[in-house]
């Protein structure tokens, strides 16, 4: 497996055991191999608890692997970096800051002055269509708007990889569809790679260049399904229907296994 700078993220034989060495040790990932090419949109699909979030944390550098290696643009991932931005499932905006202060939080840690910060805030907030909400506080926004601000905050750091952990899971169907379109726009214009976690097969089909289906815990890659449909995609086209059936098939066998295992434990 190559780890040339062409590849945004390369996971080689990655394993993660939570609380390793204690009696609460818990294997989340095992011998996982995965590549995300520069500029690629990869979606992780898998049953609940299979270690998708864990993989994103490892890629972000917030946790360290217990086996194998993760490289980002040819360099091993050891700690978090602004170029690999993680967007969380629930809103992680600071409630005590305004939208624009949230978006420029990372810049304000360095030497950027107020003018530069304002320019960046205007730039990224207009990209997510929230320029008008600049001086609002997060709790004045809807859930969808908050997630867009979170995306804007990540964009402000000019990331090369966006790691997104079920960012739209809490939204209603219509808002989610809008957010998907919006994300694709952002992705096209920013040249960033995206590693996107979801439970939803439809979301995976709408977004991905490739869908990576996980096995149940301990998670590893079960199958990679390329989606070679032109965007914007018609979710009712024959190809999309076929993909939906294929992915449902792959997923449900894993979900059943996960349930059987959980029942055996209980």
């Amino acid at each position: 497996m190559n780890s040339t700078p062409d590849n945004a993220i390369v996971c080689k034989d990655v394993g993660k055991i939570w609380a390793q060495g204690t009696d609460r040790a818990h294997e989340a990932l095992v011998s996982l191999d995965l590549e995300v090419k520069a500029g690629e949109f990869v979606v992780l699909l898998g049953p609940s608890g299979c270690g998708k979030s864990t993989l994103l944390y490892l890629c972000a550098g917030l946790e360290s692997v217990t086996a194998g290696e993760i490289n980002a643009f040819g360099k091993p991932v050891r700690e978090p970096a602004p170029e690999r931005s993680l967007i969380f499932q629930e809103s992680s905006l600071f409630p005590w800051l305004t939208v624009s202060q949230n978006v420029t939080f990372g810049l304000s840690l360095g030497s950027a002055n107020a003018e530069e910060r304002r320019a960046v805030a205007e730039d990224v907030l207009s990209k997510v269509g929230l320029l008008a909400a600049m001086d609002k506080r997060p709790d004045e926004l809807s859930g969808g708007m908050r997630q867009r601000v979170a995306v804007a905050r990540a964009l402000a750091m000019k990331p090369k990889v966006l790691l997104m952990d079920e960012p739209f899971a809490a939204l209603d169907v219509q808002t989610r569809a809008k957010m998907q379109d919006f994300l694709l726009d952002v992705w096209r214009t920013s040249n960033a790679s995206v590693l996107f976690v979801t439970h939803h097969i439809d979301e995976a089909i709408a977004l991905a260049d490739r869908v990576v289906v996980f096995t149940s815990r301990p998670g590893t890659v079960k199958e990679i399904v390329p989606i070679d449909l032109p965007r914007p995609r018609d979710q009712f086209s024959t190809e999309a229907m076929q993909l939906r059936m294929q992915l449902t098939e792959l997923l449900s066998s894993e979900v059943e296994r996960a349930f059987a295992e959980q029942e055996a434990i209980l």
Binding site: P82, F88, S92, F94, F105, L109, R137, D139, M157
Partner: protein
């Protein structure tokens, strides 16, 4: 269909106009039920007391009814003596008027509570943060703090008097020591329960440890700390009253002690009313402060009502 539209239209214009004409009225309207119930509750309680007196169930020497101990304010006020005749340069006739003496007494107690609370809050928050910031400091101090936290503040009273004699200092020290340990532990608990996503965001953005503490941890723990502060307000009042009762100078606690020694139940109840009102206003002020500092916390959350 048409009728309901007309109706809703008239309702809108009927309710909308007066509200916009008197901008403050909306707020007062919201406050009114609360105030009403407060008065009703106190009134009911007073009425029962008066009734018990009227029927002869309550001995007026032991349980004088409110109209007796609240009725004659000037003679009650005479019990509040804040004259400092022992001070050099103070004439014998320089004593403040009884009304002034009451205010000075209330102010003295309030001042002790406030200063003690402020010192305790600042020092314990700083200590709590330092314990989590420098783990060596934490390992050295946390066990001692945890051991001392459950010690009743009353046990510190002799220490306060040995160290500071009489006056404001021992009373303030008492408040400080009563709150310091619990508030330090509360600060640590708050730090440990900061939303881990906030910390992860800070880490991803490249925040240093110092930046993480000043920019994320501190604002994140502030709401919880203000609640702790408000809960400890009552403790602070208690400690000050006890300290004053043992003689640290004039104050509401001293007046209660005086009432006890001269067997004056009326004065006890009068002072209790003063303490109640002052404490209530104090809590109200802290709530205002809370809503000013914590502009981002939604109403009803982290404010305990």
């Amino acid at each position: 269909m048409q009728q309901s539209a007309a109706e809703s239209g008239s309702v809108e214009s009927g309710a909308g106009v007066p509200v916009s004409r008197f901008p403050g009225s909306e707020r007062i309207k919201k406050l009114l039920p609360g105030i009403g119930w407060t008065f009703l509750s106190v009134g009911l309680f007073t009425l029962i007391w008066e009734f018990a007196w009227f029927m002869g169930w309550a001995d007026p020497k032991l349980l004088p009814p409110p109209h007796v101990f609240m009725g004659d304010l000037p003679s009650q006020a005479k019990n509040f003596n804040t004259a400092q005749r022992w001070q050099i340069g103070t004439g014998t006739s320089d004593a403040p008027s009884p009304g002034m003496a009451v205010l000075i007494t209330i102010f003295s107690s309030t001042y002790r509570v406030m200063l003690g609370l402020l010192c305790a809050a600042v020092v314990s928050i700083a200590t709590g943060i330092a314990i989590r910031y420098w783990s060596l400091f934490g390992k050295l101090t946390l066990p001692t703090i945890t051991l001392l936290a459950p010690v009743s503040p009353i046990a510190w009273l002799p220490v306060a008097i040995f160290l500071f004699g009489i006056g404001d200092a021992p009373a303030i020290f008492m408040v400080f020591i009563a709150l310091f340990f619990t508030m330090t532990l509360a600060t640590i608990t708050q730090i440990d329960s900061v939303n881990v996503n906030y910390l992860n965001v800070a880490r991803t953005m490249g925040a240093s440890k110092l930046q993480t503490y000043t920019r994320v941890v501190l604002p994140a723990i502030l709401p919880g700390l203000l609640v702790v502060l408000r809960l400890n307000l009552f403790g602070a009042w208690m400690v000050v009253l006890i300290a004053e009762a043992t003689g640290v100078g004039y104050g509401l606690g001293q007046v209660i002690m005086l009432a006890r020694n001269t067997f004056n139940p009326g004065l006890v109840f009068f002072t209790i009313v003063l303490i109640g009102i002052t404490g209530f206003l104090f809590d109200y002020a802290l709530r205002l402060l809370q809503s000013k500092i914590l502009y981002w916390v939604p109403k009803g959350q982290g404010s305990l009502g």
